[in-house]
Assembly symmetry: D2
Homo-oligomer: 356 residues x 4
Amino acid sequence: MAGNSFGNLFRISTFGESHGVGIGVVIDGCPPNIVFDEVFLQHELSRRRPGQSNIVTQRKEADEVTVLSGVFNGHTTGTPIALLIYNQNQRSGDYDHNVQTYRPSHADFTYDQKYGIRDYRGGGRSSARETAARVAAGAVAKMLLAQHNISITAYVSQVGNLRLEQHYSQLDFANIEQNPVRCPDPIMAQKMEDLIREVRKQGDTIGGVVTAVITGVPAGLGEPVFDKLHAQLGKAMLSINAVKGFEYGSGFDGVHLRGSEHNDLFYFDEHLQRIATRTNHSGGIQGGISNGMDIYFKVAFKPVATIMQPQETVDSAGNAAIITGKGRHDPCVLPRAVPIVEAMAALVIADFWLMR
Amino acid sequence: MAGNSFGNLFRISTFGESHGVGIGVVIDGCPPNIVFDEVFLQHELSRRRPGQSNIVTQRKEADEVTVLSGVFNGHTTGTPIALLIYNQNQRSGDYDHNVQTYRPSHADFTYDQKYGIRDYRGGGRSSARETAARVAAGAVAKMLLAQHNISITAYVSQVGNLRLEQHYSQLDFANIEQNPVRCPDPIMAQKMEDLIREVRKQGDTIGGVVTAVITGVPAGLGEPVFDKLHAQLGKAMLSINAVKGFEYGSGFDGVHLRGSEHNDLFYFDEHLQRIATRTNHSGGIQGGISNGMDIYFKVAFKPVATIMQPQETVDSAGNAAIITGKGRHDPCVLPRAVPIVEAMAALVIADFWLMR
Amino acid sequence: MAGNSFGNLFRISTFGESHGVGIGVVIDGCPPNIVFDEVFLQHELSRRRPGQSNIVTQRKEADEVTVLSGVFNGHTTGTPIALLIYNQNQRSGDYDHNVQTYRPSHADFTYDQKYGIRDYRGGGRSSARETAARVAAGAVAKMLLAQHNISITAYVSQVGNLRLEQHYSQLDFANIEQNPVRCPDPIMAQKMEDLIREVRKQGDTIGGVVTAVITGVPAGLGEPVFDKLHAQLGKAMLSINAVKGFEYGSGFDGVHLRGSEHNDLFYFDEHLQRIATRTNHSGGIQGGISNGMDIYFKVAFKPVATIMQPQETVDSAGNAAIITGKGRHDPCVLPRAVPIVEAMAALVIADFWLMR
Amino acid sequence: MAGNSFGNLFRISTFGESHGVGIGVVIDGCPPNIVFDEVFLQHELSRRRPGQSNIVTQRKEADEVTVLSGVFNGHTTGTPIALLIYNQNQRSGDYDHNVQTYRPSHADFTYDQKYGIRDYRGGGRSSARETAARVAAGAVAKMLLAQHNISITAYVSQVGNLRLEQHYSQLDFANIEQNPVRCPDPIMAQKMEDLIREVRKQGDTIGGVVTAVITGVPAGLGEPVFDKLHAQLGKAMLSINAVKGFEYGSGFDGVHLRGSEHNDLFYFDEHLQRIATRTNHSGGIQGGISNGMDIYFKVAFKPVATIMQPQETVDSAGNAAIITGKGRHDPCVLPRAVPIVEAMAALVIADFWLMR
């Protein structure tokens, strides 16, 4: 128990369930005197909220945030920042069919096994709604990092079999927010959008990959041997609903290279006036510590478990049952996962930043 | 700083450098009255130690462990268990060439940047020698888990392009320790061994993948929303030297499936007399909590950075230099990574076991 | 930074400032299926709130609590319980005189030094208003402990020089809530009340001692060698505003006894059918672990810093200034400190209970 | 479980039992490039070790420390510093009489209740021998603090009824190490020594008070609202064997003052060129944060439980028994407690120093 906090020096504790009163977060350890940009905070939440385009879930949530504490005269004070987002849909009526029946590949069964009680209203705490609190906290972390010119950008690089093959440096990140998929390649974005529409028509869902790039991180962040920078990033990403895998730098593909190919040779960069590496298979991290190069990683998301097709399952007594999703059909979480990945990355970097 | 502890209730703190006096671990939170099997502990260490076969590094380390505390009359007492492994090779002479020069894709540069001081004796704390302490601690965790019939088995499933395609259930785990590669398929094991020998001849190195399976974990382990079982497993694996990626269950391949294919349908298993799932794309974990099915995951290792070929690099002043590995050539860490992966998995499961 | 959480398995994170939007707490790790008694929760808050009698501060705060999460169908769910108390007085006008001037023995100066920013509205985060969140969280801890017949009772045992000399076992705890001082001896309570009134007339303040007794704790709680039961209790008490000292069992008076007098002799109690001690100088804790006897301790509170008399001080530029308290005069915090002491004790015991 | 670590950023984990192989500590988070003074480290241990004078226990322990890791070329490296002290007396023969019988006011009974196993060799983990590891770690913390001109001095201010009435500023600290009691007043020291000798003759023991003063701490250390500087100091002191009480600044005596007397008035100190307070009832801490004035506190120690007189007790089956201490008679722990109090204070300050 007590697994709802993340980070050490920049530490968040989240709370709230789908269909409860609201969700929120307490941020403890944010330094004082950071300009607190509520417009930016609200904007980040709008990137995650349902209903923002017609390829994501149409559930209505305005996700307006209230700042309860920690901000005074437009600046952080160094005391805990509490953020609250009221739920608009607090009715539990929609979910009566789930009271007894376990939805396949949801957390209904495991929560019931663990807690001996189950909040059947839209998944309760296990709902992806919980990630709104992460995005809110991540926005504050971004405010801190922006002061130090650290920037985090994520995008959808794969949906089903549609995979963007270009290296991130070949892409124009300005395109990311120009299409509902959040893929920086307009042509691929259109293909992905078409695929998602097709999947939606079938009442089915589809997964994919989010790629993220962090620039501006100085050398020296990360705490070996267990709290390595990429280990903490990996944990952060894997803690997001529906994530099945994480890799950084060369990742799983790196196993195809020999050491002589994979090693990143050092040189003195005259332009940067510092030591750099010619390649970056290391993904900006060596020995668990940032080396000043770009940090990049990929996160794999499985297809959403709620589908609009009938599925076999059991109820809590073990009796066979049939369940069909209704209401909120989210054919592909990938577009909305982009700000969540960014938020978790921002939280990790902010935490290590304060430890440096 | 202070990143050398792992776990919460079953908590380890490791110490020690390559070529220092020794390495070791303090285990805090191990329950009392566990039969303490020193023979098993030593055996686990022998699976990790250098020189155990002719395809791994030939550096000589006996890795004999001394139990300093926490064990009385052959049982754990509930007080901290301190384990110490003296280093046999404490000479730093072999490493003089590294004093000024950064080895490519090692942690020399980042440690220097972070700490402003560098232990140039074989990598110091960043050396993979540190993992011996993990294996020792993991052996104790295994003693605890064995009492509850929880079992962890890892094996090499890929070396370079040689990839074992069978599902783990189709393999005979009894074969794993029968060959120096630790691959359960004897034919593939031979191919992998041949490949590693070839790579070694070239003075080069090669990476691969370790697959692990955990059986016997009851439903209910894991602490959402941040300390999900797989998130903690992922962090544990990513904290191991040379690891570049982690995936569990369907992993990165899961993105190719639709929700209707990926969902694990529940049924009541008459034989087990409990609810189970027909498939296990979830990898035994749903919503971050174990569901009683097998837990399985994959870990990607990059090729070892130390190669016996000359490479371009710089010294700490930024001057161009050439460096060539000498001494301990470890063409492939995969065989020795197997017990390390098992150890870290055991630590994670033991920790969640105590939290249940 | 990040010092606003307390506990490990029963973990709270508090937030909020005096005169901000509100204050609150996130409780992470409360077990599921505890009957959640909102009436009791509100009652505990009413014991702490200002204005409850005419010997405490007359500031008006209703302290009505809103349950934001973690409770479903009248029971805890095992997920985070977030509680929010809106502030009624959010005006900062009353505090304009403090903007530049440091109130003696308040935290104005140290917050300014630490954070470089100061929330001058009634002390901001350093205000005793923060303790309302502790009482709310403690009420939930009490709900848990009540299920296991663990009971915590505190009372005022000293105000200024008026000191209750009886041992706690000679007192009738039913009297505690019968007088505004919360002293179980009616005659002494009247004397204390008179003294507080006199001090109030002088625009001055007075300190005292709260004694607490915990019954029903089984042997075995506490985690040596650092997280000893009394060490954690001590930290909990010392974290309360205005506390200057903590002692348990024989405390500071124990130094007057010889070992032969102080030692608590063991005997087998035929009535209880278990081993007990004839005396209890140990205060129910030996070696940092509860021994099954009553746990008791004392907490010293200094006089409140805000007085209605002019005092010399300086402003933030170091210029001499005169400051006189106005508005909320709280001549003695002791009566209101009673529920706070109980709450912090409940949080400590609940945490160790879950660790047992 | 897992209560053997202390601190967050300067974090120690201790291990070892009386009569086991040895005791030790892992220090994680010590900054790099601190000059590591082994002579000083050994000297600090010699102040704590048994047999240093004829008024403390005569048990023979050389307490020679081995540095296992974290130090290279005479400096800390930023990696974990492991320190090991072998026990000279590993025989358990002396303690056979304790196997079945619970020593009064020792931890025998509670350890047995908690762990279901008991290390009867001299108290095992509950032995005060454990504090040697604290002193070793504290010596390293002192090395760090010395670089920043922070100094910690403790002394014996009371033994039984003999109480030093002078304020610490009236004492000559140079006298502390000039007598076996560690009392800075030579006349009082002699009286205390005489009293301890008398108590020893009776086979009895006596308690007392250690006072400590920390100078040079800048304003701003401490992490409200729970990790207040004095709360963490209190926990640190209360975690030491035999401690029954802690107070800082005015402490329990502060309850006799009115607010108008207790408040520390601010003024601008022309000599120091900074804001200071005219009195220091606050003990250098306001709102849980250091204010730049001296920090001072008192720690109460009960008389040692082991006495050379027969005492009634029970065995583990509850049968009545008589026990008489033999071997190591330590009539008064106070002189040896002085370096332990200093060590724990150093650990607390070092931790907050790194957080600032």
